[in-house]
Symmetry: C2
Subunit: 790 residues, 2 copies
């Protein structure tokens, strides 16, 4: 039984033309709108039915106790959980006394379209009530990229056949009930009525305002709404507010041909410091600003923002309309997750669902930021500024763990460690190297010196110090990092994880180099030459396990001596393995949840010879079950690099379709930002062969037979470049900025206007590749293609 | 400030002659009485003040949910917690309207004596009330070894100076309040009012009966009491029962010279199957039986049981009265913990406190049963029969963990895994080898063929199968056991822990040999020759890591490559380390909580050369912090074996004084059965050099300069042997049973009557030994010696 949503294939939009309540929750994630500050799930206007109601504010959370059967030193006592704040999306409708509810009456037509260029979600419905009253409802909603605190809905209702009495109730609702999904550790823990009412003002002019605070985290949230109403003369507007509901009611009698139009503006603000009156005024002011801009103005701003974004970021894929759609869908959600961050984190699910409790992990730095670095760099500076702002917390955590420097959390919203599983929370230190990596890549791509000095250097120094205190010299002089957890979550608490060690090496060297470039700031941070010398020495002595017998790198010490997982005896229903086997057994066998050594080969490619890459890839392919959404894109990149282009293409498909086809079966909890970024990574780093660093950007374009063309735009050091490749040749075109030299398959190419170079012939890979039985890249189930109307 | 109890040093008793309320809880554990079925903490008769009120029934528990911040496959959902059941110890006293409470008035004299030959706890008090009413109270209590369900108290009160009005309230109280000790993972989780009242009958004749059941575990407990009262003529007796209290009140007027004497008999029963009326009748019947025997009869039985025990088990130590007392105290508590087990477990704290939730661990099999094997073997058969009865649960657990055979729990009361910490609950598989070891030692010492066939073989086979499925062959053909946790709890989830691997080897060979001896029973268990061949092969190929560079065994793979713990930077207040440092950091460094490799050298001595033993011991001494009570005795044994006799003596002291001096600061939660056994182990296996197996028993007596003599008795294959050693020579005397051949320092000696052999000269050990700074064996604070009055 197919349990994923069916969207038509269009280049610039996601369209649903049939409502399937079984996958309603998935579509709510896919159709979520956000500007990085406010996130609205794609819930139906009328509030019900829903999969999960969701309105989120980036950084706004409630605390919940973290319980332990057996407590231990350093275990966090409370976790942070994203809160479903006051819902401003709700517009209920009564037609001749019958509530509009798609579960009753007849839904003649239903369509929802997420327009990737307009930045809007439009819904068109033709519905008859159980008593036969037919209406057409059209709504368009947006979360403004230009008015950070504002969302708006344009709502239109028409009587179709005869006059109808219509009541529209536009609401603000707090503390909506949510259902508990027991047993899946990836879902969030719902909070029961997390918001405490402080104020509920049904104001004049159809304005309503509500202020709440959380019980434990001490955060205050304000929401307000106002309305422009255009209806028949007899239209009447009332406002009421009681308890956790604020309501503006518009009552009218509609004749066919004279619709009721309503523009609902709603705004949010939150703070841990500002008072109730200040918050009240803040959201009212935001409404006033939005109303001044007006609906058409908001829409025009929205499109302008997206036009600029696509000019820098668009990717054109010829030969695979699904992937074409998916990569744009992914870029759109990346923009949504980050456009108006302003020193707040990018959660693993953005603001599209409550999955993973709304926490940000290392995948933001390793998968999401690298894409934004070349397409929307401002957001990267924002996201890393947030990390920078949490340095005091990371320093405290390091102290608690008896380490030096900064220990950034495995999962968090505000900066404190929220992992209740110590092999992650005090094991997956690689998150620190991920932050350093994102800093290094961003600085390389933008040459943003002041950022490097003020934001990058403190991050690099704190993490370098952490590695120095985490590692030690063995009697042979090698620098070992023992007892940590790498990216592969089916192996934990190991010695010398290759990925961790190589990333730590990068981190140590980057810190030393940045300190040398900013000696004044480095001195403020008490960095001495002796210390940077120590970083360089540790980097040079870094231990990297290699199994001479097999001729491959061991993912960590002793990994290749462990028993190989019994894949033959594992049934398809036993995946993901973590839900069916105990950790101890997964950890002690050769089975890989997600790219780990293979990710090291992508991010630290220089540490491997081409032959090692080929052999390592073949070895780890046979062990990797991909029970994580953070794997396919990396496998695509290295598959392409070692010449397995068709396999890379299949992994690209899996990364790209993660949410549109709900491959992990948890798109209900929100879309997977890292996997969405993965489509871009698979295309640009995979088939484009893009690698950048130390002021150089290199390409090695090679297409799989399934694709006839690939064009992508990216920004590097002030230049906007368009790279267009076919099976035969690649054209580099400078769209903006100073001339730039790129590397094309190893050759230097100066790009001032447009330059074309042939692609060298494709080599035949020697290694045979196979995956564990049944764990091959997900098969593609082609979706209905539809000619775009735009 | 000294915060441990002060007992006088006497050979056959533990005497407290001053009441110190600061250490009241510790004395409650030390003075606990038990027969292995019922356990009474040494609470004051009048109920208050108390450290922790405690009345326990072996095997009786309530369930509590085990919470997890992040759940995982195979984590137990509920744990079992020992219940403080109906308290029958309470005898309150009112003297001229003033309640007898040692916190008020004046305590002129106070003495408590635990008599190790009488099996009683006697208390003598001379007290004046705040208004000056002076009384003398003498109480003696016992938990009967011969009447399994019965305890009794002989209570006497005298007016001292003038007549006094006296009211004695003898009670049964359920659901006593308990204080919560937050933060220490070794303490129990108290349950709020765990017992639900079913029946409270204040009967005739001063009999009271109460029946309760638990809310979740479905267990029913009944308690009853009756009284023999001997007082002045005007003495009046009433009975009341309401709520969770049953009360018999004795009112009288006492003149000096005419005391009131009361014998309180109380009895317990519990069941998951029997009905309320059946339980009611059961406890009443037990009372009737006890009353028939009478107080004097119970005391005589008690002494007879102990006389027989000491005849088999006594140890005489010349030159150290403290150790003399301590080893008898330990043996007494071992007997108390096991005398009337009857297919129930021996918890880590016996029935003396609620520590570790009343769970049984591996230490019962490794430390407690080996002592009982040679001194009170019946209890060993009982304890292992309990393990045998839990095989179905262990089989289910193995299936859940995707393993074959049986996986016995790390901690439990009833047999289900109750560990909420997966590196223990799905890591410390060595508990299985511990069970096999106990079986093997018991069968060797007793030649109990029917036990081996019916109880031993199923245990050996199930655990051997477990090891086969836990391990695997590496490409070099070695049998590896990866990703498990050995005894040292500061290292977890490692490959090829030497202790685990050697004990597994022992387990596999023992299973193969036992199967060969009992082919019929083996066939019933579906053991084939092919399977036993596989066990032998795996045993032969067992991987045992050895560090050639250092010339020592690595406790586990890679152990010796890890950084050594920074002992110099660790402050005394940072011990135990687990309360001050995160697991990940302890795990990845060379720091040892408790004997692990050193324990392997004791239990699998044949696997090491004498030179390896000496080098290994020196190496691990420098790393061992002894944050566990399960270490000193083993260090004593190997220190003695490698010739460091004075060091062994200091470890003996630590093991022996664990509870009498409260060295671990948690005697409040109950005495440490394994450490109590450790005093015997340190003496007999350490200075006696006793090792047994394969039908042979060997000694290598050698005394440290501090001891002038050591004599001990033990049973081996039907013979009762007394071994007496001095600095010069050892005498072997056969007290009972057939002649026996022993090994004396490598020479065979036939013992029919009494044989004396000289001890060979003491060799000078080559290795220098040092411990981490500040972690040397605990210094002895000599206690007051007092000439025994008995």
């Amino acid at each position: 039984m197919i349990r994923h949503p069916a969207f038509t294939v269009e280049p610039w939009s996601i369209r649903e033309s049939r409502l399937d309540l079984d996958v309603l929750a998935q579509t709510e994630s896919v159709f979520a709108l956000s500007n990085g500050h406010i996130g609205l799930r794609g819930n139906l206007d009328e509030g019900e039915p829903y999969g999960e109601p969701g309105t989120y504010l980036d950084g706004f959370y409630e605390l919940r106790p973290l319980p332990y059967a057996e407590a231990g030193y350093g275990y966090p006592e409370s976790g942070q959980t994203v809160v479903n704040v006051t819902n401003g999306k709700v517009i209920r409708l009564l037609v001749d006394d019958e509530p509009f509810d798609v579960r009753y009456g007849t839904l003649h037509e239903h369509e929802r379209v997420l327009d990737l260029r307009a930045g809007t979600l439009t819904r068109r419905v033709l519905w008859s009530s159980p008593t036969g009253a037919q209406v057409r409802v059209t709504s368009t909603r947006l979360v403004s990229f230009t008015h950070r605190a504002v969302a708006a809905i344009h709502y239109e209702i028409q009587a179709v056949d005869r006059p109808r009495r219509v009541v529209v109730q536009s609401e603000l609702i707090a503390n909506e009930t949510q259902e508990y999904k027991a047993g899946d550790p990836r879902a969030a823990t719902p909070l029961e009525s997390p918001l405490v009412l402080e104020e509920n003002v049904p104001g004049t002019d159809g304005v309503a305002i509500m202020v709440h605070h959380t019980r434990s985290s001490g955060m205050r949230v304000a929401a307000a709404m106002c309305h422009d109403v255009d209806g028949p003369d007899a239209t009447r507007i009332d406002a009421q507010g009681a308890g956790d509901v604020g309501r503006v009611t518009v009552t009218t009698r509609l004749s066919p041909g004279r619709p009721l139009r309503l523009v609902k503006y709603f705004s949010y603000g939150w703070s841990v410091k500002r008072s109730r009156p200040a918050m009240h005024d803040q959201v009212v002011a935001a409404l006033a600003g939005a109303r001044l801009t007006g609906w058409d103005g908001l829409c025009a701003d929205q499109r302008r923002t997206l036009d600029a974004f696509w000019r820098s970021a668009d990717v054109e894929v010829t030969g695979d309309p699904e992937v074409q759609q998916a990569v744009r869908f992914g870029l759109f959600h990346l923009l949504q997750s980050s456009a108006r961050l302003e020193d707040r984190p990018i959660p693993a699910k953005g603001l599209t669902g409550s999955g993973y409790d709304g926490h940000a992990f290392w995948d933001t730095e390793i998968f999401v930021l690298p894409v934004l670095t070349y397409t929307y760099p401002k957001a990267v500076a924002d996201a890393l500024s947030w990390r920078r702002s949490t340095i005091p917390l990371a320093r405290d955590r390091a102290k608690q763990l008896r380490l030096r420097g900064t220990a950034f959390p495995w999962r968090t919203i505000h900066g404190e460690e929220c992992s209740g599983y110590w092999p992650a929370g005090t094991g997956a230190f690689h998150v620190n190297a991920a932050i350093a990596h994102a800093v290094t890549q961003y600085v390389d791509a933008t040459d943003d010196t002041s950022f490097e000095r003020d934001t990058g250097l403190p991050l690099l120094v704190g993490t370098a110090r952490l590695w120095c205190s985490l590692g030690h010299r063995d009697p042979a002089g090698r620098f070992r990092i023992d007892g940590v957890t790498g990216p592969d979550e089916y192996t934990a608490v190991v010695d010398n994880n290759v990925y961790t060690n190589l990333m730590a090496r990068q981190n140590l060297l980057a810190a030393a180099e940045a300190a040398a470039r900013h000696p004044g700031r480095a001195a403020q941070l008490k960095v001495t030459e002796e210390e940077t010398g120590g970083w360089r020495d540790a980097a040079a002595a870094m231990c990297v396990p290699y199994d001479e017998r097999l001729g491959v790198h061991a993912q960590c010490e002793a990994f290749t001596q462990h028993a190989v997982w019994d894949f033959a005896a594992t049934k398809p229903r036993q995946y993901p393995l973590l839900l069916h086997f105990p950790y101890f057994d997964l950890y002690r066998r050769q089975v890989v949840k997600q790219a780990d050594l293979v990710l090291a080969m992508h991010l630290c490619g220089d540490a491997f010879t081409p032959e090692q890459k080929a052999r390592n890839f073949a070895y780890y392919e046979a062990l990797t079950v991909r029970d994580s959404s953070l794997s396919a894109c990396t496998q695509a990149v290295i598959a392409a690099e070692v010449g397995h282009l068709e396999l890379a293409y299949r992994y690209l498909g899996e990364a790209a379709m993660m949410d549109l086809a709900d491959l992990e079966k948890n798109t209900v909890d929100g879309v997977h930002m890292a996997a969405l970024a993965g489509a871009w990574i698979a295309l640009i780093a995979g088939f484009g062969g893009m690698r950048a660093g130390r002021g150089r950007i290199a390409f090695a374009p090679r297409l799989p037979s399934e694709l006839t063309g690939l064009a992508f735009r990216l920004r590097y050091r002030g230049s906007l470049l368009c790279v267009t490749t076919t099976a035969e040749a690649t054209t580099y075109e400078l769209l903006e900025g100073p001339p730039i030299t790129v590397t094309h398959h190893g050759d230097q190419v100066a790009v001032a206007g447009s330059v074309t170079r042939p692609n060298p012939p494709r080599p035949e890979p020697e290694e045979e590749i196979h995956q564990p039985p049944g764990r091959e890249p997900a098969p593609r189930h082609p979706r209905r293609a539809r000619r775009s109307r735009s």
